[in-house]
Amino acid sequence: MAYSDKVIDHYSNPKNVGTLDKAKKNVGTGLVGAPECGDVMRLQIEVDEATGVIADAKFKTFGCGSAIASSSLATEWLKGKTVDQALAIDNMDIVEELNLPPVKIHCSVLAEDAIKAAINDYRVKNGMPELELEEKKH
């Protein structure tokens, strides 16, 4: 199976690889997937408390090239968005942008899950109620 140029580009030059200080109140961390399934994503957001805008986003991913590309793309999209805007990111947007084949759609679902998990972590830390998330099929 050939990878799309965009997947190859994100894999070769991943954006925003790294770790934010998860102890900070304005940092939300989402860890999704499982080693046995071959995919684990950790996505973090750092929110500017004055504006509610995501000032920084970082990821680390264990997985195939499409999983790495999906999380790399997600961090790019997150930066500059408000938390509410970030919630609107849909996995199918990632599928479209990266040209993921059907067998790799679960990578995009995982990235969306990671975004939502990071936002929820941020919300809980800051006294907001946890969002009920709809279950997407992996």
Partner: protein, 406 residues
């Protein structure tokens, strides 16, 4: 020597054809096109002579009699013919077959089919080295057992089963012994007499011969073994395998066997030195594990798990220049990681992180050096990107984390 790219290290999947094999085959497409079964003219005689000669070349490599070689379309057909053919032929004696969980799918799926036809199959587990337990094998034999089917060398991990001990047990209990030796024939000495093999499957394209041709060895003496044909037709190959002989393919298989016969010993030595160098180079990485027995192993095979990186993601780092395969689920159609690695007791995470190296006749030292460096660089790069590696480095036990399974 100059480095030649891309590098092919997937020789367990298939081997490139040796140019000498192609040369031997070429006259049999256009010029000498006859049907080996045409008994009444020179075209047929020429073809028949070529097939007879190839049969001798094949037999010689495995120390068999030429009459014991049945030509087929490949190892999958040979596996089917051996298992189903014995099951049908010996139905009056029993219906029980013993095999192992690490066999090739061509054996396992055929066994599943036999179960549907009323057969009983015992699937022996293997130890963490990938070897079956001989006591367990002997204990599994019942008065209904007709066949033991254990492979010679494994396609994923290269582990060589104790074939002589297995055949001794089979002999002692009057049970036939079939081995799928697709990965072993032409790579290491395989001797059907000394090894006590009653039936054996192997294939041309795993030993620098053409695809679409293989053979089944069927013992004719002590004991005389017969299999029921699985295709009806002209009664070729002593009635065990009908179908017009694939003359160019058979000529190619014969030539491939002859080359292996002459060069196998030196080649195995050369490849095992290279394989060990590759393995030692890669094992300098932290948290790298060789899968399967290192002691009982084909000389050209290595299977290594690089913990905390995923196999497909890893291969993407160098697959433009290096071809190999992984036990990762993402590389298979089934979305399940390698059942062979799981049978060794590896967790799914380690199975996902494995690479299989299959060296071959045309692998060079320069290619091995390049591969060591490329894989090391990619593993290090991906570990920097891996949340699991970070947790491991922080001393977090990954087993204590509640992962969201899906």
């Amino acid at each position: 020597m100059e480095l030649k790219l891309p590098i092919y290290l997937d020789n367990n999947a298939t081997t490139p054809m040796d140019p000498r094999v192609l040369e031997a085959m070429l006259p049999y497409f256009v010029e000498k096109f006859g049907n080996a079964a045409s008994r009444n003219h020179s075209f047929g005689w020429v073809a028949e002579e070529a097939v007879d000669y190839a049969r001798e070349q094949v037999a010689k490599l495995i120390n068999a009699d030429p009459k014991e070689i049945i030509f087929t379309s490949g190892a999958t057909e040979s596996d089917n013919l051996a298992l189903k053919g014995v099951f049908e032929m010996y139905a009056s004696k029993g219906n029980h077959i013993i095999t192992a969980t690490t066999e090739h799918k061509a054996v396992l799926d055929t066994c599943k089919h036999i179960e549907k036809m009323g057969g009983q199959v015992t699937y022996l587990e293997v130890n963490p080295e990938g070897l079956i337990d001989l006591k367990e094998l002997e204990n599994a034999i019942t008065d209904k057992t007709i066949l033991i089917a254990i492979m010679y060398g494994n396609n994923e991990i290269g582990v060589i089963q104790p074939v002589r001990e297995i055949s001794a047990i089979a002999r002692k209990h009057g049970v036939l012994f079939f081995t799928d030796a697709t990965q072993a024939v032409g790579k290491i000495p395989v001797d059907v007499q000394a090894d006590g093999i009653d039936l054996m499957a192997f294939s041309g394209h795993k030993m620098y011969g053409p695809k679409g041709v293989g053979a089944l060895y069927v013992r004719r003496k002590n004991p005389r073994v017969k299999v029921t044909a699985q295709m009806d037709g002209g009664g070729h190959e002593r009635g065990m395998r009908s179908g017009t002989m694939n003359v160019p393919g058979i000529v190619g298989l014969g030539k491939a066997c002859e080359i292996c016969m002459n060069e196998m010993e030196a080649e195995a030595k050369r490849l095992s030195v290279m394989r060990d160098r590759l393995e030692n180079g890669l094992m300098e990485l932290e948290e790298a594990y060789v899968n399967g027995s290192k002691e009982h192993r084909l000389p050209h095979v290595s299977n290594i798990s690089f913990k905390y990186v995923e196999g497909e993601g890893l291969m993407m780092g160098f697959n433009k220049n290096i071809a190999l395969s992984s036990g990762s689920a993402c590389t298979s159609a089934s979305l399940e990681p390698s059942y062979v690695l799981k049978a060794l007791g590896l967790g799914d995470d380690l199975a996902h992180s494995s690479l299989r190296f299959g060296l071959g006749r045309f692998t060079t030292d320069e290619q091995i050096d390049y591969t060591i460096n490329a894989i090391k660089d990619t593993v290090l790069k991906l570990r920097e990107m891996s949340p699991l590696w970070e947790m491991f480095k922080e001393g977090i036990d990954l087993d204590t984390i509640e992962w969201a399974h899906h």
